[in-house]
């Protein structure tokens, strides 16, 4: 109890600290407003121009605040100056030369401001910024500064009439809300002009190619197992709203290379240990600014602590081939097939050979190559973890006989089963030579038999009928009959999935699919079923080609495992705690 209490105590202390030290967002409307002050950029403006006024409130002498939005305005001489802009009530316009007393009222507090409207006339207009370049899709605010008779200057952005000489290249706003605001529409040049009382001012606007604004890296938040790989895609978002695949253009990086590595020119990340790392994609845009997009990669499934090779100590007759696997033990207690993730090597390459698994698969073959008795060590390596080792002895006895097992098969059409061949030698040893044998069917229209790799000896029933399967090894032949029958899967509960549905992250679990037929028979159809999972960040198929029904848990959550066979679909929910 007390062990629990202390952490709780300190967490509460940390959370409470010394009280709130944040930034308040609420204005003080308790302290009374006692006076107001009117502020303007210009106390004198030319006729046909305007200026915006501000009201600064003084609250009991304690603080001030801009309260322009609360003010009600009036002009003592509305023919001289008036508040005529509906969208901006605090903007006063000079109508004819003269003086006007302007009044702002907030609640019961009022103050006045004397504005002079001069008879000065416009002589020239300067539009700024001068000759700007803007990327397609971006915008820019122009300002018009008027020079008047008497050499006075005044911001007339709001009072001028704005035009773009080529509205297809860039538009410029000329309404109360957007005067002088230009939007680049396509690559090219246009002249932006501001005119007051017939006097123009202008500048050249150049619209350049769209510029890269941001990068989206997908997937954004993937979870994958240690000793795995995953690829990312970088999509560039440009200033004109277009997107482009820039995966091959960006520079890739991983924030924690102990968790996962990624080379700068490759979009494939390789995971090493549990943890989280940020995968970034960076590209310098046309403006010379580096633009970066990121994704958060979570690596799960434990850290590799040991490797076990199976078979560990084997004897193979020369030229025989067997499947070899590497199983990883992980820091969280998980175990899974990592045949495709380790680096295989054979001490004496003339004695034996291990094939390199295809990327993403867990299938490797051990071949006995020595022509006279010899032995060698086989190693499976990954990082700095102690490599897994196995010993292989190659023998050269004389073949005596071969047998096939089972002696016959009875299959529903559309399903499969396997034959194996065992060879007996003159040194009283026997060995499975299924993969080394040559397999044929005398009636492929009825039943086929695989003769490549893992498919060797696997018979698939095609249609009802009979066939004879032959296996040849070392010049000897064995045969076995196959009977294929037509059966109908039950409409209800015709396919059943069984297996442990709660799997710890990193562990591999086996699911089997069993078909039930209307004649009351059942058949294991795990190898004949199409398996899929809807959320690869929760669980994945270990190797959809070579390990049907094998599922590896990835990260906390639930995923739907789907099995499809013979037109029937069945699902189970896999939970990763």
């Amino acid at each position: 109890m007390t062990k629990l209490l202390w952490p709780v105590f300190f967490v509460v202390m940390l959370l409470s600290g010394c009280g709130w030290n944040g930034t308040p967002t609420r204005e003080n409307d308790f302290t009374p407003l006692t006076s107001i002050r009117i502020v303007a950029d210009y106390s004198t403006i030319a006729a046909h121009t305007s200026t915006k006024l501000k009201v600064i409130g003084n609250f009991s002498g304690l603080f001030t605040r801009d309260i322009t939005s609360q003010a009600v305005w009036s002009s003592g001489s509305p023919t001289v100056a008036g508040f005529v802009t509906a969208s901006s009530p605090s903007r006063v316009s000079g109508l004819i030369p003269g003086t006007a007393v302007l009044t702002a009222t907030v609640g019961s507090i009022s103050n006045t401001f004397t504005l002079t409207v001069s008879s000065a006339t416009i002589t020239s207009i300067t539009v700024t910024p001068a000759t700007p370049s803007v990327a397609n899709g971006l915008s820019i605010q122009f300002m018009a500064m008027g020079t008047f008779s008497g050499n006075t200057k005044q911001d007339i952005t709001f009072d001028a009439t704005w035009r773009s000489s080529n509205a297809a290249v860039a538009s410029v706003g000329d309404t109360e809300s957007n005067r002088g605001f230009a939007q680049a529409l396509t690559v090219g040049e246009t002249t932006i002009s501001a005119t007051l009382d017939g006097v123009p001012g202008s500048t050249l606007l150049t619209v350049t190619e769209p510029v890269l604004q941001s990068i989206t890296v997908t997937p954004a938040n993937p979870s994958i197992l240690t000793l795995s790989t995953t690829t990312f895609t970088a999509t560039g978002n440009y200033s004109n709203g277009t997107t482009a695949d820039i995966t091959s253009l960006v520079t890739w990086a991983s924030s924690d290379s102990g968790v996962a590595t990624i080379t700068s020119t490759s979009n494939k990340a390789s995971t090493l240990t549990q943890g989280t790392t940020t995968i970034s994609a960076t590209l310098v845009n046309a403006s010379g600014k580096p633009v970066t997009g990121t994704a958060t990669l979570k690596v799960t499934g434990g850290n590799l602590t040991g490797i076990t090779i199976s078979p560990a100590n084997s004897t193979l007759v020369k030229n025989n081939i067997v499947r070899i696997t590497a199983t990883g033990s992980f820091s969280n207690g998980a175990k899974r097939d990592i045949t495709g993730a380790v680096e295989w090597s054979v001490t004496n390459g003339t004695v034996a050979n291990v094939t390199v698994p295809v990327s993403g698969e867990n299938l490797a073959w051990l071949s006995a190559m020595a022509t006279s008795p010899a032995s060698t060590a086989i190693t499976a390596k990954s990082g700095s973890v102690t490599p897994g080792t196995a010993n292989l002895a190659v023998t050269t006895p004389v073949l005596q006989s071969i047998t096939i097992s089972p002696t016959s098969l009875d299959l529903p059409a559309g399903t499969s089963n396997r034959f194996s061949v065992t060879a007996a030698f003159n040194d009283s040893t026997a060995q499975d030579v299924t993969v080394s044998a040559e397999w044929t069917s005398n009636a492929v229209a009825k039943a086929t038999v695989g003769n490549i790799g893992l498919a060797k000896g696997r018979v698939i029933g095609v249609v009802a009928g009979s066939a004879t399967i032959s296996a040849v090894y070392g010049g000897l032949t064995v045969t076995a009959p196959v009977t294929v029958s037509t059966r109908t899967i039950k409409a209800t509960n015709g396919l059943t999935i069984s297996g442990t549905t709660t799997i710890v992250s990193g562990n591999q679990a086996t699911f089997t699919a069993m078909a039930s037929y209307t004649d009351g028979t059942t058949k294991d159809v795990t190898e004949d079923t199409t398996w899929s999972i809807d959320n690869k960040y929760v669980a994945i198929l270990a190797d959809s080609t070579n390990q049907p029904g094998q599922v590896v848990a990835v990260n906390t959550g639930t995923a739907i495992l789907t099995a499809k066979f013979g037109g029937v679909t069945q699902t189970v929910t896999v939970t990763v705690p």
Binding site: M1, T2, L5, W6, V8, F9, V12, M13, S16, G17, C18, G19, W20, N21, G22, T23, P24, T25, R26, E27, N28, D29, F30, T31, P32, F59, S60, L62, F63, R65
Partner: protein, 216 residues
């Protein structure tokens, strides 16, 4: 000041006079505590945004009635008690987006908690302990004002909790001195502003207490 010295002497005198070894008390007890508390700067929020209330430190007073478990009790060695405490802090400043302004008024919390105390007995008179208390508090905002203008005046009853640690010193078999620290908090009470708006106020306090317990 003289009164404070007298109190300290009165509390310390028995320590000097007592025997080095005491039998561990079990059974009912009553006690009283005095101390200081700091109500942390409180984040307050209404539909217009957030503002903070800063309070002055103040005194607190507690009364407890409880039961000392006998040694080797299967429940564990410790105590269970009912505690009433009153804390009252004066509002000093209120901070809005415009800046700090003067505040006034008091926030008072009357709490009733059920405390579970784990005591680590040893061969000395000193026994450290940790405690967890759960209960309710009536938190009252009394005439809270901002620059002399009314902010709120009301009260709310809310769930409250307390975490504490300290040390007991056994003066006699039935009398012990307790010096402790308490973190007291509640779920934020909701008050009504003078303009009718509702606002939530955080309530976190740090407290140092000194008290005595009398066993029977």
């Amino acid at each position: 000041m003289k009164r404070t010295y007298r109190m300290i002497i009165a509390l310390c005198l028995p320590i000097l006079l007592c025997d080095p070894v005491m039998a561990q008390h079990s059974g009912p007890y009553v006690g009283g505590f005095l101390g200081g508390n700091m109500l942390m700067t409180a984040k307050s929020s209404d539909d217009l945004g957030s503002f903070s209330l800063k309070f002055n430190p103040a005194l607190l007073g507690s009364a407890v009635v409880g039961w000392d478990f006998e040694p080797n009790n299967p429940v564990g060695e410790g105590r269970i008690e009912l505690e009433y405490t009153r804390r009252s802090n004066q509002l000093d400043q209120v901070k809005f987006s415009d800046g700090n302004v003067k505040g006034s008024g008091d926030v008072t919390a009357d709490s009733l908690l059920l405390n579970c105390i784990a005591v680590f007995h040893n061969n000395t008179r000193w026994s450290p302990y940790v405690e967890l208390g759960l209960g309710a508090a009536r938190i009252k905002a009394s005439d809270l004002q901002v620059t002399g203008q009314p902010l709120s005046d009301g009260s709310a009853v809310v769930f409250a909790y307390q975490l504490g640690t300290g040390v007991d010193f056994a003066l006699t078999d039935y009398l012990s001195l307790d010096l402790g620290y308490r973190f007291f908090s509640s779920i934020p009470p909701k008050f009504t502003e003078a303009n009718g708006r509702k606002f939530d106020m955080d309530y976190y306090t740090h407290n140092i207490v000194l008290g005595m317990r009398f066993g029977f």
